[in-house]
Subunit: 235 residues, 2 copies
């Protein structure tokens, strides 16, 4: 936790917050914080700054806040991801939030097992929990928007063209494609497939919606690693 | 498992191998392989190619092999990593192998907890197990070399200058440094710090050994994510 993220409910005044949950335990057990310490803090979807720990006891911590800096810029990106398996989904959500992705679409694919759509990790509170962990890691305050699209064809045919309009559309896909471009300017729409990759029909449909296949070399990377590698190359 | 990796002990003839362990169960339960199937195979530290599954029963699988292709190229890189916490270490080892790092140095740092050096995940067999998982993921056969250096100063003063000689020396470190370069040519020596970063003394020592600080932006990334992001940017 490199940033203590405060929610609206934590505020008891414009410059005061009280913590009682996981973050309190983290302050005590990991940071070994003490009254008088100054911590990096941010308000969820708001500004960042410093928090002075006025008091800290077994039940709660009280902070005096100076929130005077904007959070870091987000990437100009819409990321489409074939829904990963539940365990990977949690890590990917953290990575996506940490890397500064502002909008994530979790999309169906032929190679996404149907059972993945039943995971409790897709519930809004579970998604939000992982995103918050990623923001705390990276020192950001703004939650990415997450869209859940369990039907590939209607999303790609009816909604994707408008979402991708005006952006550089790319499809990460192993094979004989141009290499992923580096240091692009302007907005990007990037789709990353499931383990085993998109099937040819899906590649065709995504290409028809404006996403051109690019590759990262012969090595097959896990989804989480591929997301990080593609974003680090692109931006 | 995108590549079935065979060890010398699996071979019963130059073009035949018999499997009995984890890989047999994986073939049966994940791949649902059947006699007659053709699989991607590689020989550890050797060539890659195809394996025809001659038979598969509860106790063993027999393969006829055609190993006629070299594994993918490695990155021209020596990666120095402050020893991560044990759980992260396992994932980092997989990532390092999957990304094609040929040489990894696990190094001490002031911010590495002493207990991390006691983990059983540092035993050679445990390290090898994670590296093999990374190779299987990425379709590579060559194990990275892993050096364990629990003493920072003697390694950085006495051994690092020779290891880094003739390479571009870089030190991933948050702060006011030049951005990490892109698409470099030639060999690189890259050092990535612990959670919380290298301390100033360590930055000085690493700089004196020829490693120049570079940064990846304001966001603080987990070690595994930072490794992937820096390598994707550099190569």
């Amino acid at each position: 936790m490199n940033l203590l993220l405060l929610e609206d409910a934590d505020f008891v005044a414009a410059d005061r917050a009280i913590l009682r949950d996981r973050r309190l335990h983290h302050l005590q057990e990991v940071h070994r914080a003490q009254a008088g310490d100054t911590l990096r803090v941010g308000r969820l979807d708001g500004a960042m700054g410093q928090g002075e720990l006025l008091r800290l006891d077994a039940g709660e911590a009280e902070l005096r806040l100076t929130l005077d800096r904007p959070p870091p810029a987000k990437l100009p990106l819409t990321l489409l991801l074939a829904l990963p398996r539940p365990k990977m989904l949690r890590r990917v959500l953290q990575t996506v939030a940490a890397m500064g992705v502002p909008r994530l679409v979790l999309l169906n694919s032929y190679r996404v097992e149907k059972s993945f759509w039943q995971t409790p990790f897709l519930e809004p509170a579970a998604i939000r929990e992982q995103l918050v962990l990623g923001l705390e890691q990276a020192r950001d305050t703004r939650l990415p928007e997450v869209l859940i699209e369990p039907r590939f064809k209607p999303f790609v045919e009816d909604r994707l063209p408008a979402l991708a309009a005006g952006s550089l559309g790319l499809l990460g896909h192993p094979g004989e494609h141009p290499p992923c471009p580096r240091a692009v300017e302007g907005p990007v729409t990037l789709a990353i497939g499931p383990e085993g990759g998109w099937i040819p029909y899906e590649v065709e449909k995504l290409a028809a919606a404006g996403l051109a296949p690019v590759q990262l070399g012969e090595r097959i990377l896990r989804v989480e690693t591929a997301v990080t590698a593609l974003l680090a190359r692109l931006f």
